[in-house]
Subunit: 391 residues, 2 copies
Amino acid sequence: MLSKEMTRLGNKRSVIREIFEYGLKRKAEIGQENVFDFSLGNPSVPAPWCVNEEAKKLLDLKVIHGYTSAPGAIHVRQSITAYIKKTFGADIPAANIYMTTGAAAALCICFRALTVSGDEFIAFAPYFPEYQVFVEASGGKFVVVPPEEKNLQINFEAFEKALTPCTKAVIVNSPNNPSGVVITEENIIRLCALLKKKSAEYGHRIFLISDEPYRELVYGDVFVPYLPNYYDNTLVCYSFSKSLSLPGERIGYIAVSDKIENSSDVFAAVSGAGRALGYVCAPSLFQHVIANCLGQTGDLSIYKRNRDLLYEGLTKLGFDCVKPDGAFYLFMKSPEESAEAFCEKAKKYDLLLVPGADFGCPNFVRIAYCVDTDLIERSMPSFAKLIAEYK
Amino acid sequence: MLSKEMTRLGNKRSVIREIFEYGLKRKAEIGQENVFDFSLGNPSVPAPWCVNEEAKKLLDLKVIHGYTSAPGAIHVRQSITAYIKKTFGADIPAANIYMTTGAAAALCICFRALTVSGDEFIAFAPYFPEYQVFVEASGGKFVVVPPEEKNLQINFEAFEKALTPCTKAVIVNSPNNPSGVVITEENIIRLCALLKKKSAEYGHRIFLISDEPYRELVYGDVFVPYLPNYYDNTLVCYSFSKSLSLPGERIGYIAVSDKIENSSDVFAAVSGAGRALGYVCAPSLFQHVIANCLGQTGDLSIYKRNRDLLYEGLTKLGFDCVKPDGAFYLFMKSPEESAEAFCEKAKKYDLLLVPGADFGCPNFVRIAYCVDTDLIERSMPSFAKLIAEYK
């Protein structure tokens, strides 16, 4: 009598959420400070000063809460166009910018806009688990490509095998959730060349969907290629959740590359999908806020310090970690085959880690380091006890 | 190569939007004050004082922009439960409240949660045009019941004919967009009795979906029945857009009646649909804002004054109007068979009205009176000239 698929989705608790709930319970038992909760990807750095300042300024204007046009307020879209031009040198006209209720909405809208029955969408493991939910809800088939295990970069042999005439799009998420890995420019160039070749071979374009909520969160001298500069048929799904530390406000955008042939048709399909999914407009106050905060971020040096402490600490202890160049996650190899069993053992020391199966890498665990720096320092003795079990 | 349906939806401009754009052009030509633009349902009354005041207070707390849990912050849901109990006497536990990104999201989520292939959803004309888009995007079939023409109440003969074993749900929108009509309690009782009878006859429950963004916008001594008090299998889709004049902020909720058999399954399906459509959580700042503004409204006396002026003015001129008891729309019979032709004639006098075809009543026009009172007064000579053409 109800949609079985929706009931299943609603009843299936996410592993991350389960660990988080366990953490809440455990904190109540032994004290907040004694639980090393690395489960959630909620920014720990406060929103930069401009966010609340702009919000307050805007609240004094009376008209700020009205509907904007469906793709967003035109001056907001123009600001984003100018920012993209200045920052990446790419020309994406305001007419190709569609403001969204966060990156999840952006992805759902893109999948729905593109999907024709039988279409396949490729993601590279490790991947954000909701990709599968979103692709399947749009009627597409979700295809996973395993990574190069040593560095979690693209495994091109596996990728080429996964491409078929049914491939509608490839999803790139760099910096990556859950690994923090940034795909190298060399690999992006290789990826794009392969997609061009296969598009020609299949006689239809393969789209590239760049999911990049972590774009600004990179540490050190790391280059994150802007995909519309490398491949014409690109849609960028951006969110301000992480850069401006406002994930609950749900604000992001889709940038449809102007180099896509008939990009106005793609934009129409995006608009239609936004409408069909009930996204009337992106939240208006925060549309205006972000327009005045473009290029700003929270204090990223905190994440960098956390990354360094955690990576160096765990590596010194003997854990096998892939060094994250961005985001606020570290992906670590489980010292035993079952990452679930390893995470259960970690719980004994009140270390809350997320097993990698849902990310498509069952022998890894995710450690979210968007936490107090102090917590990382205090967690090291527990990690030491944990690895001692394997020696 | 793209979804045809989404491209079509994106390219099909809404009639309302077209008239509005025409209005912008015309205002640039002859001056803002000389165009009588009755096309858009954007609240003209400012948000009540509490909205911006609460927002500013909350912005001074640092943690306000984080993710809330998917169904919403628990204290917000608890506040809504308490408000519903106090105001309508209904028991809807916080566990059955799902915060949404406005009423459009609420409707899309409900349709997606309920729809099984072959399901039919019934709406009473005149109806909000996006119902059809949302139902069809969820895989359902949209069925329209024509109204009693004299008062735009439910035509029970037509309604009974429209009910079939495939009927999954019936949508009630009272106060109504586009007519402002409030369904009488007598008719609600009759509607619910019929649904109970038919549910028994078909051997499965028929849901009632109450879309009520205009609940508080009623003028005079008008009673708006709270449907969970009349019918067990009810889902309420509410929005704060109109009562608090913040349509752009996208904040509302779904209340799943606790009297639905296995209501937790229905809630699970709602949660699953929210997830599948990319609604991670409703915008967090405004979740908290509305929790502190429940029961407040903008200055509704302005809408009442507009309603009175417009209804009395037009009726005196000889137009055939259905008196609106609520919302901020007046539905008027076209004096000629084609409401489109009538609206074109109205344009000559710079009166911008919306023809009723998209609302399921092709011989009516919608007049949105969420405008400056002064504009209504100044428009009367133009309406007089317009009706003179028909005398």
